[in-house]
Symmetry: C2
DNA sequence: ATGATACTTGACTATTTTAGTCGGGTTTAT
DNA sequence: ATAAACCCGACTAAAATAGTCAAGTATCAT
């Protein structure tokens, strides 16, 4: 299982943004340069973040993005959700009446994968953007 | 992040095998039919499991595979490791002196991804094949 | 012996996902 | 006016995934 760049970049970019937040909007160009992420790709990512109301945009010169909520209230879950970084341990649709692999019953390991999914999501639920900024700050002392 | 079929199938197949283990070798054909997994694909998977000494093969008619260790001693970690299902949260090579994304320092969120990796691997370390067989048995009562 | 069953191996391929790129906008401060 | 920035949709190359396929070899039952 691997984390995709989109999810990773979204978090990196938001941590970067959060560190400067409250003063001026931060432009994607700056984030792109600091974090080494393609500007075009960042635009895609921030478009999603804006639609999910995690950030607000400021257009025009001197524009950029600012957080739309307190960093403490933004959790990894929210970020990943916004950019469609989902945790998927099974193929089978949840809604489907059928079991896994086209069988009529749930596969032998269905519960296991559900547990795993919960385990990972718990981690994402616990971490807020604020936590990340603070951890990062402490590391630098 | 998604779990690949290879990893999922490996675990499903081993749980299936473990339930019949101790009596006779279990053929991949049977596992294929019961679990709805392509026989050819199972052969690839079991080839890896055998090389990592998780199963033993018995050739010829009435042949198949048997566990090479006690189910209690086989952990998800071992299984995933055998079939190259790795947990990868960062792109950057561990060995590389350089940081992430070609920068000279570690990325702002490097610690986070390391933590996540550990969190997931802990889950895999705790679960043994025996646990899975038992859980499955209890569900059926 | 011989046929059937089952493991063994390696190469090949189609599909899907990922990770972007590209080209055109629109808005706004200076 | 113009440059800096956001905005949007379509396109594409590369990688990973999920298999398939072909040609074996070993062993058992008869």
């Amino acid at each position: 299982m691997r984390l995709t760049s989109k999810g990773r970049y979204a978090v990196m970019a938001l941590v970067d943004l959060a560190r400067f937040d409250g003063i001026n909007p931060v432009s994607l160009r700056d984030i792109s340069l600091r974090q080494g992420i393609s500007l075009d790709y960042l635009e895609q990512i921030f478009s999603k973040l804006r639609k999910k109301e995690i950030v607000q945009s400021v257009r025009g010169t001197q524009g950029g993005y600012i957080l739309n909520k307190k960093a403490k209230e933004i959790r990894l879950t929210n970020i990943f959700d916004a950019v469609d970084e989902k945790v998927k341990t099974v193929q089978c649709k949840k809604e489907s009446k059928k079991g896994c692999n086209g069988k009529s019953t749930k596969c032998l390991t269905h519960n296991l994968w559900d547990e795993l999914e919960t385990h990972i999501n718990n981690f994402f639920d616990k971490k807020s953007l604020d936590d990340l900024v603070k951890e990062n700050f402490e590391r630098r002392l």
